[in-house]
Amino acid sequence: MAFCTGCSLLCDDIEVDFEGGKIGRTMNLCRKGRGHYDSLCVDRLAPTVDGSEVGIDDAVSKAAEVLAGAENLLLFGWGNSTLAAQKVGVEMAKKLGCVIDDPSSYSQGLITETILKGELPTCTFDDVRNFADVSIYWGDDPSSSHPRHLSRFSYFPRGEKRQRGYEEDREAIVIDVRKSPTAEIAADGFFKIPPGGDGDFMGALMATLGGKIPKVEDKKKMLNLGTKLRKSKFGVIFTGLGLAHSVKGELDEFVSLVGKLNELTRFSVIPSLGDYNTRGFNQTLFDETGHVDRVSFKDGVNHGPEFGIAKYLDACDAVMVVGSDPAAVLPASLARKLAKIPMVAVNSHRTFTTDAAKVTVPIAVAGLEAGGSALRTDGVKVEFDAVVKSDYLPDVEVIERIMEAV
């Protein structure tokens, strides 16, 4: 049995055959996971300095040089790193007195932080499989982003109290701006909202749950939804980027909606995070500072939007990007800014970010070439071992070596 670190579900029932160093037959691995496994032999990163290939030791010492010479340093990424590497990363940020951030600053950081603070109730995927009868996918399309989400946990499997599975025991509700593949499965449970209309939908749902007539076009459908939610025994809301981007940093309405639902029945929230260990980084930094991202260790612990990658790029004079590809995700203007800053990129594969970096340091692929541990998107710790031998160093070792050299 092998683990898949292709997404934050961290599937643990993978069977894989290796044929002469290449991936042969795989079982239970979704298409996304298969792509992740196949990438083991494609586009791997080499240690480079200014575009020319060097030995790993030279790359590490040059990386340390870049970081040591910076006054306003940003350590970014960490979503595709093991828990041990993330811990060393936070340690390093503390020692160097610099800023540390991860992609959750422009995705679901706020939702995760609210969950970690205890303001939003949460549960594990095993609870969902065993007990949940209503699954709400809000601005979330797991069929595309986490292919095995519905089949492993949230809709199709039989569980302890849900022996009849999706046919009779479960209800899927999708709230989205378009008819996504997940919405195709939910059929009648699909609520189409206009972009940015999540707040209005929350207001209408609150009114419905409060026994009022909602001010929406299809009142009957909304009232039916209210009845369904009121009657459910255990509901779960899976949040996606759609919700995170729509609420624009104001989660109060969502928190009060979940609070209202919890007055009537039991409802939990699980974010569908992108990178395999985003939750791990959020938890590690939260344990250390009380915040999940955008933290500066310059003069004590400071937190704020000015320390997010989108704003801090103006102020910083060096960046280290670990296991992430912000150049591919950020808007072009920010990506251009990033490319002009002296950058150290630590990654297993060649990406847009590593192409723009001054120094690149390769690492092993976690879960395949290196062992470690990570937090699944619901916060459950998963430990995995290496399944194939490799010359690449594990991420934790590389980060430790860079820290020592600095």
Binding site: L29, K32, S143, P157
Partner: protein, 155 residues
């Protein structure tokens, strides 16, 4: 999806009974169910006046007769499949045959599952266990309705 009427329109419509069936409509049903082959209709194959109809029929039935379809008529469009395993977990036969594996959302453990995810896409095995197999088939559609990408169809 090919309909019986589409096939019937491309047959001689003479009800000559040479195929062993009473009408051309019955033969069209037989063709769709893959109990008969195009060659069983001797006038269509031998007489030159039906040449165009024969060509059209071969074209129409090409996906049905291709090797991709299983004996139950299942076609998996692997280029559309995500490998999400929804069909594997929802399949009632898998649930009954593999209660400790696919029924609870994991990979199959019993070897009796009829749908599995191999190399990132779904694959049909043990086809004789499928509810759509044999003359007394049940028109189960669990794997079709649960597919987010419409990668599974039956002919």
């Amino acid at each position: 999806m090919v309909s019986v009427m589409e096939i019937y329109q491309l047959l001689p419509k003479t009800n000559c009974k040479k195929c062993g069936l009473p009408t051309c409509m019955a033969f069209a049903v037989g063709l769709l169910g893959r109990e008969k082959t195009i060659e069983d209709c001797t006038p269509l194959v031998e007489e030159p006046k039906y040449e165009k109809k024969l060509e059209g029929l071969r074209e129409l039935l090409a996906p049905i007769l291709s090797a991709d379809a299983t004996e139950t008529g299942m076609i998996i469009h692997t280029e559309k499949c995500y490998g999400c395993g929804n069909c594997v977990v929802a399949c009632p036969v898998n649930v009954a045959n593999d209660p400790k594996g696919t029924a609870i959302g994991r990979g199959p453990v019993s070897g009796k599952a009829i749908l599995i995810v191999e190399d990132g896409v779904v694959k049909c095995v043990n086809v004789d266990q499928c509810r759509r197999f044999g003359p007394e088939k049940v028109l189960c559609s669990a794997c079709i309705v649960t597919c987010p990408s419409k990668a599974i169809e039956f002919i």
